[in-house]
Symmetry: C2
Subunit: 440 residues, 2 copies
Amino acid sequence: MLDYQVPAIKGQGAEQASYRLIGHEECVMLKINGPRLWASLMAMAEVGATARGGSRRLALSEEDAAGRELFGQWCREAGMSLSRDAVGNLFARRAGRDDALAPVMMGSHLDTQPEGGRFDGVYGVLAGLEVVRTLNDLGIETEKPLEIAVWTNEEGARFTPAMLGSAAFTGAMSLEAALASRDAEGISVAEALAACGQAGERPPGVPLDAYFEAHIEQGPVLEDNGKVIGVVTGGQAICWLDIQVEGQAAHAGTTPMPLRRDALFGAAEMIQGLERLAARFAPAGLVTVGQLEIAKSSRNTIPGDMRFTLDLRNPDDAVLARMEREARALIAAVAEGRGLAARVEPHWLSPATPFDADCVAAVRAAAQALGYSHQDIVSGAGHDAIHLARFCPTAMVFIPCVGGLSHNEAEDALPSDVAQGADVLLNAVLARAGRADGVC
Amino acid sequence: MLDYQVPAIKGQGAEQASYRLIGHEECVMLKINGPRLWASLMAMAEVGATARGGSRRLALSEEDAAGRELFGQWCREAGMSLSRDAVGNLFARRAGRDDALAPVMMGSHLDTQPEGGRFDGVYGVLAGLEVVRTLNDLGIETEKPLEIAVWTNEEGARFTPAMLGSAAFTGAMSLEAALASRDAEGISVAEALAACGQAGERPPGVPLDAYFEAHIEQGPVLEDNGKVIGVVTGGQAICWLDIQVEGQAAHAGTTPMPLRRDALFGAAEMIQGLERLAARFAPAGLVTVGQLEIAKSSRNTIPGDMRFTLDLRNPDDAVLARMEREARALIAAVAEGRGLAARVEPHWLSPATPFDADCVAAVRAAAQALGYSHQDIVSGAGHDAIHLARFCPTAMVFIPCVGGLSHNEAEDALPSDVAQGADVLLNAVLARAGRADGVC
């Protein structure tokens, strides 16, 4: 077992950091150039910069195209070739020793929320670029080609659905449907692609060896647990329900309490029960009532007709189904006990998306070998990787975002975390793509 | 003690019904002509009749003026004289033996909700007319003059505030402010009065001996208790509060339950607590949360900022104050326990309005002597009588409305209840106004 440090050997700080034992193999752990990656992130944030330190690059806007242009320029400087598909997904390619092999892909997105942050999406794209730059620095060739994807319209802030580009790439959505989606001003994706020069010719979807996406967590778990690396094991299952509660609207001043059928009092008891339900499914079960509306509400009228939404999540489809059954039963029981009518309608069901065991293991092994604090975590938010996972072996690397804050101009991440996440991406990708020089 | 039935002695069914002992006095109990009153109610309902059996006579509309015209014609036929004040309140007067005495007034309103019923307000006006018609039938003169008031814009459906005419009459609102109130189309009360020919010249407010208003209950209490007559002891006190609850908006998919500060879960606990608070103040204490809004709500965002209204009622000012204190304490305690910020702002406070003990006793005695089932009741809704009670000795007579339903085209009342309520009004008014023939 070799176990000694090797200082930076070439380039601008990229280094072969240490030799460590993983399983029974001896592997070289590499590190990216943290300051260079940070500088690229800050430079990209200037494209569409907002007054309060964030970025605004709505999908297929001039700003989005300018961001892609900057990225493309950096990729060409790193010796990569560029291509686009018909839905505007942008790919930068570094040839492999056997360039006929399916590529190992990294990536994420460069579009932002209207008042978005500097890291959501951008981090996964520029971490991929930094991986390539580091391999260039170190003179390392990979067996399989490497690609970096910039997926179109991930945020869903301009066109719906979110993750439109990766949906079209993986076949989750037809190309025609993707191109026909229109923004609030009636402009279609096809028109926007033409207007900003981002349309390619080849149809979306090519065989991939694997897909790795680095991303800020967009939640508080890693920070709260004091971990730098989230080894993402998959996307959780989501069940959206619509609940309508009907009682009897009546005068707040003339109706004695025992004669009331107050829909809101019933809903409050249901919501309290749903909070306790979440506790029974802790820690993985999540329960959110995000919207609640009283029909024809007035200050002095007893609510007679109201609706609320229910968002249930669990990494396990079977457990989520149990959560849904229990939620339905408790809503029915509360309604029954109060003489209310409650109707529960399914709105959307998204099954759990487990990531590929080998790819997840590669991420975990890299974090382990690099000596970075890490934990397994489930992706709570949607990501392009969720689509990719149904298409090819996929994994994600999470790093903390300060305060769990995202979709906000104040979104932030620590430079050290940014660097360590990219280190993990580098070594996991390298393990998958294979070093042409035979070094493990 | 005389205790025998006297059949109808003249007119269309009005009768001196029975002699009964009240206290130590022997009094003649009279009855109105039920079918005639019912026929008048149905005839008035045809003015602005709606497709589903209700009426639409918005204040100072053509329909409202037509209803007043019909009423005025009936009053003239009954030998009464008409006058209007500057805010359009319409008065029909039957002279007293001593016509210099302040009049005993009956009345209510003829305007309706946009899709209003046939009884709300109309009943009090036409019951007053039926009282006069019956006295005419029986040839009975009163010591004091009698008047019937038709108050302007009681409903508040066209102009705000509700009970505008009686507010101006009693000085609760200045004439100028009342005339300046504008409807949704910008038309002022002054303009509407001129347009429909309902403006009078004399300033509102003349001395009254007493005011009696018959009205449907607009709640379910009498029906639920199997009583025909509600002896209204006054109007309850009302406290309106606005509550804001602030937590932390966050992603429904990425935020573990223990790290959430969910404003809606907090509000649900508060509302459950408020429902239990009502039980502690049963049966008189009423608690209603009529409006609840989540700011920037979305199905997959944890509510971070929300508001709800609170309507607290009790017939006793001191008890209402205790309800408010306990509500504030429980809201603060729930917020504290959950790391939420809660702010409670006063919105409106209306003190209790006890009715005049003698007038209330006259109503109760009449119901008692007539042998009608009755109970004391507090007025939960607003009525012109609430303004009048601060101006002169006042009482109200409630009768049941079917299912407690009001402000609805399906509003209904039983003909027998309609007749018995007017019988009570007749005898209470007569006791107050005094029979010129000296019969008690």
